[in-house]
């Protein structure tokens, strides 16, 4: 691909209408497998390559920006696309000027296992075999569907200011639905998992967990309405921090919509007993899925502590917004790393009185701008004086900025995909809408 990128770069250099440019090349190879129960349904192989070009036309203190993408059969004939993009940028020369990153050194990261690169089909066969074996032992339940994807991706980057870089990365993904049966009642539990390498995929443990959750749903009832201590765990915890990441971005400051101020607390409510919040953007973790040696603009990856002990510390900034605000770019937000607390989960689950421990939401996603959330409970457990009752249905509502300051983080860590942080977070009081 470098040959094509270099040739397109030469064409861009020869155009007097183009002041700066960047080229990104991507080659994706995916194997995909689908089963219905333990019957293989489909194998797919996907091969795609694309080159994306962004061009800039500077006119004094302003500039125009346009981009286009090229598929392999278009690589040899990029000239008409460049000419059309030049027409576009001349119409849009009133954008604020920002200068692309200059040449920099990129760290070497190991983001792909050899087996994903060289024999991804064997990875799928192995994961499928493990899933079949594990599900064959299920009692009163079964594997309903399984999807396994492996991806090997090469990324190429070059810009007009001397940046040039390459890296490859791997990904393995599993989507599973497990059902449990009791008489005429059938319930299901669904999960999705993404990792860098196959050995991180704990197939047997995930399937077992979803079988148990499906079984618990059979007897689950609506939770009672009213205020309650709520313990949120695992996959849903990460979503709690998304509004904090959104408001920490240089883009939010540039738009004038961030509610954070340098050196001030980010949580607005009671902070008397909560674990101080520390969030780090870390794109350098080799086993995590949001790692990269350089970002889409060619900025070398670096760690950035955006919130430290509950106080807004620094913005994370892409090259564009860093230039507007005259700050150093951190690059795109990497993996979300959050400091754990000092409370073992078993203590949090004991709570002051009854605790609603929520294992699965329909789709837990606080609004990034307002921080408000209202989400349906797919499965939870009402824990009251040592007695545990499964619950489902109803919803919880609140606001992460107002409530997180008083929340207790678990001492146990959970690591999945692009998140590394507390495995559970306890809110002393949240409104539950139920029976």
């Amino acid at each position: 691909m470098w040959n094509h990128i270099d040739r397109i770069a030469k064409e861009l250099e020869s155009s007097s209408d183009i002041s700066q440019w960047s080229i990104t090349g991507t080659h994706n190879r995916e194997d995909q497998f689908f089963s219905t129960g333990t019957r293989a349904e489909e194998f797919r192989t996907v091969d795609s390559r694309i080159i994306t070009v962004e061009i800039f036309h500077i006119n004094g203190r302003l500039q125009g920006i346009s981009s286009f993408s090229l598929q392999p059969h278009q690589w040899a004939e990029s000239r008409p696309h460049i000419e059309r993009a030049c027409e576009y940028v001349k119409k849009l020369h009133s954008n604020r000027l920002y200068i692309l990153p200059s040449q920099q050194r990129y760290r070497k990261l190991s983001l792909c296992s050899a087996e994903l690169k060289d024999n991804s089909r064997a990875v799928i066969d192995s994961l499928w075999s493990r899933a079949s074996k594990a599900s064959s032992k299920f009692r009163n339940g079964k594997l309903s569907t399984l999807e396994l994807f492996t991806r090997y991706r090469e990324r190429y980057f070059k810009n007009s200011r001397g940046c040039a870089g390459f890296y490859d990365e791997g990904l393995v993904f599993m989507d599973c639905v497990v059902t449990a049966t009791s008489g005429a009642v059938e319930t299901e539990s669904h999960g999705e998992y993404s990792y860098r390498s196959p050995e991180q995929m704990k197939v047997e443990a995930y399937l077992e967990r979803h079988l148990q959750q499906a079984k618990d749903k059979i007897h689950a009832a609506l939770p009672p309405s009213g205020p309650c201590a709520v313990l949120i765990g695992r996959e849903s915890v990460q979503a709690l921090f998304e509004p904090f990441i959104y408001h920490s971005s240089a883009k939010a400051f540039d738009m004038g919509i961030s509610v954070f101020k340098q050196g001030e607390q980010v949580c607005t409510g009671d902070r008397s007993g909560g674990t101080p919040l520390t969030i780090v953007s870390d794109p350098l973790l080799e086993k995590a899925t949001q790692s990269f040696p350089f970002d889409k603009d060619g900025v070398s990856a670096k760690r950035a502590t955006v919130i430290k002990n509950g106080v807004f510390s620094q913005m994370w900034a892409t090259a564009e917004y860093a230039d507007y605000l005259k700050i150093a770019p951190t690059g795109e937000f990497g993996n979300c790393v959050v400091d754990c607390g000092r409370h073992p989960i078993r203590n949090l689950a004991r709570g002051p009185e009854k605790v609603l421990r929520i294992e699965e939401f329909s789709h837990f996603r606080p609004d990034p701008a307002s921080g408000d959330f209202v989400d349906e409970i797919r499965l939870g457990y009402l824990i009251n004086r040592g007695k545990i009752k499964p619950v489902k249905g109803g919803s919880i509502s609140g606001n992460v900025f107002r409530f997180l300051g008083d929340a207790r983080f678990s001492s146990e860590m959970y690591s999945s995909g692009k998140y590394m942080g507390p495995a559970a977070v306890l809110f002393p009081q949240i409104t539950v809408s139920g029976a």
Binding site: S48, S67, S94, S225, A369, E376, S397
Partner: protein, 464 residues
């Protein structure tokens, strides 16, 4: 622009090579060219994209599918790819086939389809578009002093696809135009946003917004800044047409995708021809709906589009099928086999899903309810086809009493509950009707374009 029609001879030849080795072979070429214009308070950009263009070759032996997909679509590369695909194919052939995929399908032969549009967006000069959107940006910025930033996002796309198998050689071009106005407001330490969106298989004519729509956006932003959480409980509700559309989509849209019937992940399989909604409810999915955002002429498996009545007078009548699940279940293929792109698998998916309008005016619905909550600006929904749990989230709930809005607003508001309870609680259906553009995932992925809509409806829901 890649004209998929230009290499249909090659596709026919290669699909034939695959069919010679297995019980069924097909080829689908998908090409998408889009022009997007994005204007915010400080920047503007114009981008031309061809993402999602490629070819997928499919082989089937009666039980197992194998597919090879690529975006390297020169004729030489395609021939080489299929040669390599055939050499690694592990399908045993048609012996002992469980399902005959191509049998008994209506043979359409060769047919080409094109989207009729009033104003072809490609005929509008770029300068005119930019000028129009700049004006819209200025209007948005001046809506209110709390507005800190805005975005005008316009997209026009031309999607062509050519499908070839042993019986059919079909080609379609779908023109889709879409514009979204987003405004961000910040006051008293709170940031909110709301949007207006127009979109469909229509032309440039959809880019204009009425003063009433812009006024509604302004009112909504102010309401969002002052809104509180609702007291959890069960309320009479009136849903806006787009909220009605999400209820339809999430309840017995996803709930009747027949690939889930095969996997026993959908309870609806056991409720066919049974009452699952109020007798007032007629719910349809229609990929042939003129102008719908999810409209197409044939699906990604070469089945011609046509309307499907899912619920008729409250009775569950028909599911939405892809070809394989239709064949395996012995039900009609409804033309709902869709892919996110050439790079993804076909599933049974929705197109334009809606509840049919009836006779009541909005005023009559409010009068019937007496008091309750008017739900609008839907922000998402999800359903559990196995457990029939449903969650619909809206940005705004407005309290009304004695047929008048009280000024109290709640945000966000979630409808949760059991799907048949919700649909059986419908006691009034409005005489209005509108469709909105939407994006739909299967689980949390496989995003496709769909239309959602209907009239105002009066129901009783648990809100939180």
């Amino acid at each position: 622009m890649i004209r998929t029609r230009e290499f249909r001879d090659t596709l026919r030849e290669l699909a034939g090579d695959i069919a010679a080795r297995t019980s069924y072979g097909s080829a689908l070429a998908m090409s998408k060219k889009s022009l997007t214009i994005s204007i915010d308070s400080k920047n503007r950009s114009i981008d031309e994209k061809t993402f999602g263009s490629g070819v997928v070759f499919r082989a089937f032996d009666g039980s197992l599918f194998e597919e090879y997909a690529t975006n390297d679509i020169s004729i030489d590369s395609l021939k080489e790819s299929v040669g390599s695909f055939l050499s690694t194919l592990s399908l045993p052939g048609s012996a002992g086939a469980e399902v005959q995929l191509g049998r008994d399908l209506p043979a359409i032969g060769t047919a080409d389809f094109d989207t009729p549009v009033m104003l072809d967006p490609r005929d509008i000069p770029l300068d005119q578009k930019v000028e129009t959107f700049e004006e819209l940006k200025e209007v948005l910025m001046s809506l209110d002093k709390s507005v800190k930033d805005v975005r005008v996002s316009y997209s026009e796309s031309s999607e062509t696809s050519t499908f070839v198998d042993g019986s059919n050689d079909l080609s379609q071009e779908i023109i889709r135009t879409e514009i979204a106005l987003v405004a961000y407001a910040n006051a008293r330490g709170k940031t909110v946003y709301d949007y207006l969106i127009h979109g469909g298989t229509t032309g440039y004519e959809i880019t204009s917004f009425s003063p009433e729509e812009l006024e509604r956006l302004k009112t909504n932003l102010k309401s969002l800044l002052s809104a509180t959480f609702i007291e959890p409980g069960t309320y009479p509700v009136i849903t806006s047409p787009s909220t009605t559309g999400i209820i339809a989509h999430e309840s017995f849209g996803h709930g009747v995708e027949t690939d889930l019937f095969l996997k026993r992940n959908a309870k609806a399989k056991f409720y066919m021809n049974k009452e699952i909604a109020s007798p007032l409810v007629i719910m349809k999915d229609d990929p042939s709906l003129p102008g719908g955002y999810g409209t197409y002429f044939f699906d990604d498996e070469g089945i011609l589009s046509r309307p499907t009545t899912i619920i008729d007078d409250g009775i569950l009548r028909c599911g939405l099928s892809d070809l394989y699940s239709a064949r395996a279940l012995g039900v009609p293929a409804t033309g709902n086999g869709r892919r996110e792109s050439y790079a993804r698998k076909t599933y049974a998916r929705m197109s334009n899903t809606f509840i049919e309008p009836q006779k009541a005016t909005l005023e009559e619905l409010m009068s019937m309810a007496g008091s309750g909550i008017y739900l609008e600006s839907p922000s998402g929904g999800i359903e559990d086809p196995q457990g029939w749990g449903i969650q619909i989230t809206v940005k705004l709930g407005r309290e009304f009493k004695k047929g008048k809005f009280t000024g109290r607003v709640f945000s966000p508001v979630a409808i949760t509950g059991y799907v048949p309870d919700l649909l059986k609680s419908i006691s009034g259906i409005g005489n209005d009707f509108s469709m909105s553009p939407g994006h739909c995932g299967k689980g949390y992925k496989e995003m496709i374009k769909v239309g959602i809509g209907g009239p105002h409806i009066l129901a009783k829901c648990r809100l939180g």
